[in-house]
Symmetry: C2
Subunit: 440 residues, 2 copies
């Protein structure tokens, strides 16, 4: 067959890039587990009726059919999931009797969106989600906790500085109601466009679509302009003179989130009254994480509190969750070369061969290193020593083990340093044991 | 919505089961990386023409379509991969210029088969594959190496005893040719059925389909009856008096595999002349791993050497690979309860709360434990202490941290032991840090 071409929207990584992605995902997993989140993996497919419940995104579903369905209807109406929330909600309902609530889970899986192929749009991409869900009631302290988990997860990653912008739907909707606007949900959806269409067009839409007076529209926009790294926003909003019990509730909840974050994760969270997430079903805190200075690229992590993740008629499951766009965050950095790894293999030591008859003995040496956790492989051929060094160098393998008259020698091929070693005692410097990420 | 029902053929795990699967997959990954295999992840979809090249399995492809394709043809003709070999072959061709050969990779991903739903058949399941591929030529020593890697990967897993049955296509086909059979490939496919249909029916098929004389058929069946844990099979086969250069090549290659394994992984590999893998395109060593005493359930890991994994006209890529059926191996053990975990969360310590005002201080304590790698979560409510203990107990969390007049106390809720601790110095026993697998 001729050389295949990449499929637009389905990014794949080279081994060296994949090492970076693996380490990033390991870091996220580690952070989530340190906070007590259990891992779940849901199947890739959901019934179409589940997938079509979530308005906008439904257009993008990939529908499955069997090539030879021989008349059975067992898998008619299945599609690939387009996020990890729909499958999680279904999983919670399906297994409610077997789960302990509050249930905290993380999930790191690909999702698929059958979008029109175009530059920068992924049709398969990885997300890393955390959610906490309860039965009946979900205390607001989880809305305080989640940003701290995400801060731990994103800290220490080789990515540009990011910041979480936080608002509270109760605050915004209470405020809009307080100034006399009827359709506060539509008002939220309009404010959501502020960054894109600007102040005047937003004011105009508020007047046209929710019957706001110019003064009411102006009040909404004054609220949207408020942002702060600490709880000072509370007084700033109170100074606008709007009174509403829902606004008050939202103010308190947002102050708790921002206050805790200012103390426990200084500089990570900013209260930002123009964050609305207009198309989603959030009912309390809403979150969006942007790369600082690149807010126009959209958020790399977002989420919020929803009073009904799922409901089976008898019970309601409220939750709060955040989703990190792993591919969205990493693929551009990997493709531009801003992120790479110092090796393209896990191998730390290459065992060189003087001749093919030594292979069994070399395997034995390699196995002794592996037993102590040192990734090792044996040279593919007993080529000239220089060629075997080159084999290691090309892949970034730092050490070559070989035997000469003086015994077993370990050579650091970067420095050229070489020493007689006891294979059962030698250890690489800790930073050389596994591949390292190199950030430009 | 009402309670959703599981989808037949799409197994999903509960959190406690998933912890087992995660640890098994981590163990496989670790073993592969210790042997220098680099990880790859390929996209879930392949062009249909790629998927349809591999005869039998093609019937089972899930075809994708976009719900709203608005006339563009960008993703017409995509299907979900049904194994990890087809995507790997395509990846090698697509990226050949950017890969270093010999290229050794592992891949742990789900695959999909749109089969008729029936008991015990999965339509989505996980595989863990390793392959070594080269350009032009692939030395036979990799056929010796791969079983040793798989032995390391499967050793130490909480699964029943398994054994790898090995044969060599050259040996069988050379032998058939040596006794005078023309269509040696068809003869292989017939011998592949021996376990299912028995000696007499196999002899009959050989006579009918490849024009074997009864004596020739009997010779083939005598060969198929030979098995050995060491290289004694070589003399046994030579004693059958068949002379053929291909047979001789196969004998030497198989002796190398079995000899090395007998030395480096005693008891794992058995030479077994009835292993044929009749439907696949192998050209040298073939492998099948069975659970001992449950050979009738089919293999849990299989593979072999192929002279052409892929070819782009200019270059040919020979390889050798093995695929572990992760779901096939684990799901029955998890569903029967033979395997479980002692926790359903990663959490090692629960920080209890005397009242809600303590939450911020409790977060601080939890964070100090996390900083030292101890998975910790804070109690969801300041309920009665007994209730908080119960919360931990239900999930299998072994330790509860709380504060009383004597200071900070760590309680092992299994033994009831309790002691004043320094939060910045306390460590759980190593075996309690992470969840443990419990095998019945």
């Amino acid at each position: 067959m001729s050389r295949p071409q990449p499929l637009s929207g389905f990014p794949e990584l080279l081994p060296r890039q994949r090492i970076v992605e693996q380490q990033v995902v390991d870091h996220l997993r580690r952070a989530f587990e340190l906070h007590g989140f259990a891992n779940l993996q849901t199947r890739a497919v959901e019934p179409m009726d589940q997938l079509l419940r979530k308005g906008e995104t439904s257009k993008e579903v990939y529908v499955l059919s069997r090539l030879q369905s021989d008349g059975d209807e067992g898998d008619v109406g299945l599609g690939l999931h387009f996020d990890l929330t729909v499958p999680f909600a279904r999983y919670v309902l399906e297994n409610a009797g077997k789960l302990n609530f509050p249930f905290r889970r993380y999930q790191i899986q690909p999702v698929w969106r059958g979008e029109r192929p175009q530059q920068g749009r992924f049709r398969e991409f990885w997300q890393a989600d955390i959610d906490i869900v309860d039965v009946g009631e979900l205390p607001a302290h989880y809305e305080v906790e989640l940003p701290l988990v995400i801060n731990d997860a994103l800290s220490g990653l080789p990515i540009p500085k990011v910041r979480m912008h936080v608002n509270n739907r109760k605050l915004s909707q209470g405020f809009y109601r307080g100034v006399g606007i009827g359709d506060t949900e539509e008002a939220l959806r309009i404010i959501d466009k502020l960054d894109k269409i600007g102040h005047d067009a937003t004011a105009k839409l508020l007047v046209e679509r929710v019957d706001a007076t110019p003064e009411q529209a102006e009040a909404c926009l004054r609220l949207a302009a408020i942002s702060a790294e600490d709880t000072s926003f509370v007084n700033e909003i109170r100074a606008l003179g709007v009174i509403d019990p829902l606004l008050e509730e939202g103010l308190n909840e947002l102050a708790a989130v921002v206050g805790a974050a200012a103390k426990e994760a200084p500089g990570f969270v900013v209260a930002d009254m123009k964050i609305a997430r207009g198309l989603d079903y959030y009912t309390g805190t809403v979150y969006e994480v942007f790369i600082e200075g690149q807010e126009h690229l959209g958020s790399v992590c977002s989420g919020g509190r929803y009073d009904t993740l799922a409901s089976d008629g008898k019970h309601t499951y409220p939750g709060v969750g955040l989703s990190i766009g792993v591919s969205r965050l990493l693929v551009p950095l990997l493709n531009s070369g801003a992120l790479t790894a110092d090796r393209e293999v896990p191998t730390c030591v290459l065992v060189a061969l003087a001749n093919e008859d030594e292979r069994s003995a070399a395997n034995g040496l390699a196995q002794r290193l592996r037993k102590r956790g040192i990734p090792t492989q044996v040279s593919p051929t007993a080529a000239k020593f220089g060629k075997q060094i080159k084999f290691a160098d090309k892949r970034g393998i730092p050490f070559v083990l070989f035997t000469n008259d003086e015994g077993t020698q370990m050579k650091d091929i970067r420095s050229g340093d070489q020493a007689t070693v006891d294979v059962d005692a030698w250890n690489p410097p800790a930073e050389d044991l596994n591949p390292r990420i190199i950030a430009e």
